[in-house]
Every structure is written in C-alpha cells, then in structure tokens.
C-alpha cells in the first residue's frame, strides 16, 4: 500500500526555527517532497530536502508551489528587529504578503504561521486569559512586536478576502531555550534586570522544544485555526528573577521607556539598552488561554512555564563552561537518548546471551 505523502514548503529553513524543524520532517516519510527556502544558505546541508536560496519576494515561488504541488506552507521566516529596520519590515510583512498571494494563486491548502501572544498587547482591561478571538492591539514601541502586529492584521484581511488556503496561526508565549535567541532571553540575560516599580506581572513561557513539537504536531494533524501555545501554569516576573539569581532594578515605566529609547537610538550598550521587552509587558499580564490548544489542537507541551524557566537558567549558568561559547554543536549534557539506546542494546544482548546460556544448559545444542 502506497503511503500518502504530503508536500511541504518551509520558509526560513536556514534560520534557527526552520533548521530545527527540517530534520524532523525529513525523518518522517509522510512528508515528500520537502522544500526549504531562505535568503541565506543553511549552516548544514539537508539530507532529503530541496533547498533554494530565494527571498520571499521572488515571483518564482508561485510557480514552485504550483509545480511541486505544495500542500502545506510552514512560514517561519521572521526576523526580530530591535531597532527600526526597513529591510526587516520588508521581509517580515511585505514578504509574507507576497508569499500568501503566491499560495492563493496555487493549489496550496494550508499555511502555518508562527506568531506571538504579545500581539494581544498588555492591558489591565484584558481578561486574565486572552482567547484567540480577541482583538489584536499589541504595543508599538518595539519593531519586532510592531512587525508581528502588522503581519497578523494583514493575515486577518487575507482570511476575510480568500477562502483558500486555510490559515493556522500559532501564537507562542515567551520562548526560552538553549540554542535560540529571543527578546525575552536577551532581557533575562544580564545580571541586573530592569523592572517596573510596583508591578509584578504573570508570565507564561514556552520551551523551544515545545515550539518545534507544536509546529510538527500542527503539520502532522493538519489542524486549522488560531491557537495560543504556552506551557502550563504562570509565574510572576519576580519569581523568574529569583530562580535565575538576577537582581531586579525597579524603574518607573516612563523612565524605562525614555531611557531605553534613547539608549537604543544612541546605539549604546548598558543595562537599560537591554530591555527588548516593552514597559507595558512588564506592568500587566499578557496571558493566552490555552484551552483551545489542548481541546482542539490536541497539543500538550512537555515543559510547564516554570520548567522552561528552570531549564533556561540552568543553561545560562553552564553556558560559559561549555566548549563552544554560544554556538554549541553538540551538547555534552544531552546524551540521554544515546544512553537510552546503548542501554536498550545492552539489555537486548544480555537477553540473547541469557537465552543462549539456558539453551546451553539444557544441552539442546549438544545433540
């Protein structure tokens, strides 16, 4: 019986998220052919996937989608820009627009987009847990949030105008991990962490492994709709800092806004320049309701919010002692899988030798 295969196109295949997802897809025979596109070359060559070095504006993408009969597009190319950068905006928003137009013109059935729960914006008038149908009113001080908000608004318009392809948006809560770089990780990476005086918001976190797992799960099940993805439980910012052994520096929110803007403009480095999180998110909760994730998508994250924080700080502490600073090729700590494999092999050989021994004792081979 022939296995029904699906054709997948992944954008941003050379960037961390794409590079992590591609091997998973390659290992699954249900996805064929697999196409990766990005504007820069990948760090390592792919085993099975085709890679094309094109940017999202390329008009050939529409033809590629047509010819390869691409079923699902997984759109992961998004550049977090901390200062205003027109090029990034051009890639993030205008590039997505071109990609969606190409999808609409071809027979692509589904598009998966990775987004952020920060697009809801932090506001004291929000309910504690924001559902997926809430209005998008993210904050505008930082470009990466602004780009996301613009992107989501554009997708909203696109959904209203086009019936196909079907859209799936995964809105992830603050992502922590070992091998990636996110705004919240930059924020928690200094010894003195600026906070807003008198406020202690609740945070949700997602571990990078869960991000990849969620993307793969969505690709596999073909679910459509908008989903908030976050680890279970919430954790106050003060507790996050205590777990990490960081020192909070309470500043008034106006001062924080002003100084971080000035510092950024001046291109200076220092405590206040490393606030890639807007003051609003340090004042009020911005939490996603994850019931839909569990009930409709059927995805259960492995790491709770607290687990993700503990894992992240464990990695931060050990990072400087690892052989490759920042760019770790093989993590000496994560050999659990290998150990498990070795043990299973050992058990199997033990079992075999036991069997042979018993046979020997019973003397069946002597005859």
């Amino acid at each position: 019986m022939a296995v029904k295969t699906r054709s997948v196109l992944v954008t941003g295949a050379s960037h961390p998220w794409g590079a992590k997802l591609m091997p998973l897809l390659e290992a699954d025979p249900g996805f064929d052919p697999i196409i990766g596109i990005d504007f820069k070359k990948p760090d390592k060559p792919f085993k099975r996937a085709e890679f094309f070095q094109v940017d999202l504006h390329n008009p050939l993408i529409a033809e590629l989608l047509q010819v390869a009969r691409v079923d699902t597009v997984c759109h992961l190319l998004f550049l977090d820009s901390y200062a205003g950068n027109e090029e990034y905006f051009d890639q993030n928003v205008m590039g997505t627009m071109d990609l969606l137009a190409a999808c609409a013109a071809s027979e692509t059935k589904k598009v998966i987009i990775k987004s952020d729960t920060k697009v809801y914006g932090a506001d004291h008038l929000h309910p504690n847990y924001i559902t997926e149908d809430a209005e998008i009113k993210g904050m505008h001080q930082h470009r990466y949030i602004q780009d996301r908000v613009e992107l989501e608004r554009m997708v909203e318009r696109f959904i209203r105008q086009n019936k196909t392809p079907q859209m799936t948006i995964l809105r992830f809560a603050n992502i922590l991990g070992r091998t990636i770089d996110t705004p919240i990780m930059r924020y928690l990476d200094s010894n003195i962490v600026p906070t807003v005086v008198g406020y202690d918001p609740l945070f949700q976190f997602t571990h990078e492994e869960d991000v990849i797992a969620a993307l793969f799960h969505t690709l596999k099940t073909g679910a459509t709709g908008i989903f908030n993805i976050a680890g279970d439980g919430v954790i106050p910012l003060s507790q996050v800092l205590r777990i990490g052994g960081k020192h909070p520096l309470p500043v008034s929110s106006t001062l924080l806004k002003l100084t971080s803007a000035l510092w950024r403009k001046a291109g200076r480095k220092g405590v206040l320049s490393s606030v890639p999180i807007e003051a609003g998110y340090l004042k009020y909760n911005c939490l996603g309701d994850t019931r839909k994730m569990k009930e409709v998508l059927g995805f259960y994250p492995r790491y709770s919010s607290k687990d993700a924080v503990v894992d992240f700080f464990a990695h931060l502490r050990i990072r400087r002692y690892l052989p490759y600073h920042r760019a770790i090729r093989s993590d000496p700590l994560s050999s659990e899988k290998l150990q498990a494999w070795i043990q299973s092999r050992r058990r199997a050989s033990d079992y075999l030798s036991d069997l042979i021994e018993t046979f020997d004792k019973e003397g069946q081979y002597d005859q």
């Binding site: 004291h124 008038l125 309910p127 504690n128 008198g198 609740l202 919430v234 106050p236 205590r242």
Partner: protein, 339 residues
C-alpha cells in the same frame, strides 16, 4: 480550677465549655448533645469563649526553632522556590496577612457571620454582595467569614474592579492574595473551575457613595453577573454586609479632582485627609454578614429569547433580597459600634 466533672455525677453530664466574663470556667452542666449550657448557647458565638489551654511559658528553645523556621522560609522564597496558581494567588504570601485579617475579623470589627450553611462546601457558586466603605474591606471580611466560620473553609475569589489592578503595588498585592480582576471572562473561567466567586455588582457606585446614602443599594450594573451565572449554571447567593458603611463616613467626594487624577472618587472623611495616612484607619464598627438562601439558577429552563428578561428579573430579585436582608438587620441593630 477543676475542669473535670465532680465524681458522683452521671457520666453523660458534661460541664459547659464556655468561660464567663470574669474569666472563670462556667460551672453549669452542658445541655445534652451540646458543648455549652443553655445560657451560653443562647449567647452570640464570640462571647462564649471556649476554655483556653494553659498559657505556655516562654521558652528560648522554641524561639530559636521558630527563628530557624522563619529563616528557612525566607531562603526558600529568595530562591524562587514557591508556586502561584493560575490567577497569581500566592498562598504562602497571603498567609502572612492572616494575623492582621484575623484581628480585624474577630477583634476589631467583631464580625457576626450568619447563614453560612447556604454556602456550598464544594462546587461553584456566585456570592453577590453589597459594596460599601470607600476601601474594599468588605470583600476581605466576606473572604474571612468563609475561611473562619464555614464548617468547610474555602478560598473565596473576590472579583475586584480592574481599576485597582492598574495601580502600582495595589494591583500586584491584590493578585497575590487571591483577588481576581473583574470581567465576565474571568468570572466565567473561575466558575467553570468550580470556584467560589464573590462579586459586587454595584461596583464603584456602591463603594464611593456618600455617607447620607448608606444602606441604599446603588444600581446593579447591567446584570452581567446574572448572565455569567446562567451561562455557567451557578447558584447565586445574596450576601448582605452591615457595618461596613460606617468605617469611613464619606462626607464629600471631590469629583473634579477625581476626574483630574483619573480615579473614580477622592473621599473626604472626618479623618482623611485631615490626619494624613492615619485617615486610612477605619472606624471600629460592629459588622454583620448574612449569607442568604441561594437562588438556584442551575435548575432553570428557558428559551434563548427569554434570557434578557430573565437577566433583569434575577438581577432585581437579588438586589431586593440583599436590600431586604440589610433592612432586617438594621431593624434590630441598636448601635453602630456595639452590639
């Protein structure tokens, strides 16, 4: 003082457990099946103090132990080794305020809580109460009533005006001690989790009303609480609080200043702002909290078209019940400060 019944008395005769006003153990025999004698049974609950254990002597060892305990606790907190629940409620932290809350409940306002049998021991329910007293102490005392006097103590989740959550320190504080920001989505989620919710439909209109209009219920919002109760099939329990209206007699509300500051009211009371921060000390009035009979919404059947009518009907019914409970209490109240 002998606490055992004298030899020769019948075994079923038990001595009354109460202590008289002079501090002597009551000599009367307890009524059969009860712990107190007929006289003390008829008395109010806080008056018939049960006999205390003999006072423990000061012990340096105990002190050292409790200090070590405290140190361990602090260490644990500083390491970030604690949990908050999904609403930001930090039970360990809230526990720190219990001595103050217990003092306010038992000694300062001497709260008499009645009708607690109407509060279910488990499962969802929506407590609806009248709001008064400039600062929301009434919510705290209703929470205490269910914690202290309910046979099966529960944590009440009070829904507080979202304005308080936008204020520095206050917002975080309220969240950590178990309050939740008032919104239909939040109350629906809480009730679906089978929590005990407390709402004040009067909102700011109730808490910031002038002293001259005390014990007259303000408008009950737009009936949002009934809609949530209908949706989640939760019984509504009307709660009336008497005594909280007089803790800060609000003489004048400086409306222009309030709108300038973006707050709902700027109160002028006999002590505030005259005495500065001391003006925030409430007056020691005598409080009565009554939990009325539940309105069993969960058994109601109705067509979707009937819902708006039902919402107004139930909203008015709850309002009238609370107002009636308040008047019933006021009829027998002889003094604001004493029993």
């Amino acid at each position: 003082m002998t606490s055992n019944p004298r030899p020769g008395t019948k075994p079923e005769k038990v001595q009354c457990k109460a202590v008289t006003k002079k501090g002597v153990r009551c000599r009367n025999a307890a009524k059969s099946g009860e712990a107190f004698c007929a006289m003390h049974l008829s008395m109010q609950k806080e008056e018939r103090r049960p006999a205390k254990e003999p006072e423990e002597r000061f012990d340096a060892k105990d002190l050292a132990e409790s200090l070590a305990e405290m140190q361990a606790w602090m260490k644990k907190r500083l390491r970030g080794d604690y949990e908050v629940d999904e609403w930001g409620f930090d039970e360990e932290f809230a526990e720190l305020f219990m001595p103050l809350m217990k003092f306010l409940y038992h000694k300062y306002w001497r709260v008499t809580a009645t009708g607690l049998e109407n509060v279910p021991a488990e499962g969802r329910a929506l407590l609806v109460a009248n709001h008064s007293g400039v600062l929301p102490w009434d919510g705290a005392m209703i929470i205490m009533a269910v914690r202290e006097d309910h046979p099966q103590p529960r944590q009440v989740r009070a829904l507080v005006l979202s304005l308080f959550f936008s204020l520095p320190f206050t917002g975080t504080m309220l969240q950590r001690i178990g309050h939740v920001q008032a919104s239909p989505a939040n109350s629906e989620r809480l009730l679906n989790e089978d929590e005990l919710c407390l709402v004040f439909p009067e909102g700011v209109k109730g808490i910031g009303k002038p002293f001259s209009r005390r014990y007259q219920l303000a408008r009950f919002g737009r009936g949002g609480f009934v809609r949530v109760a209908l949706k989640t099939r939760s019984p509504i329990i009307p709660v009336s609080v008497v005594g909280a209206e007089e803790i800060y007699p609000l003489l004048v509300n400086l409306r222009p200043l309030a709108s300038l500051l973006g707050v709902p009211y700027v109160p002028i009371t006999p002590t505030f702002p005259l005495l500065g921060p001391l003006g925030a000390v409430p007056l020691p009035t005598k409080w009565y909290i009554h939990f009325g009979e539940p309105i069993n919404i969960q058994d109601m059947t109705y067509r979707p078209s009937e819902e708006p009518l039902l919402v107004t009907k139930i909203s008015n019914q709850v309002r009238d019940t609370i107002q009636r409970q308040i008047y019933e209490r006021l009829k027998t109240r002889r003094s604001v400060f004493f029993e």
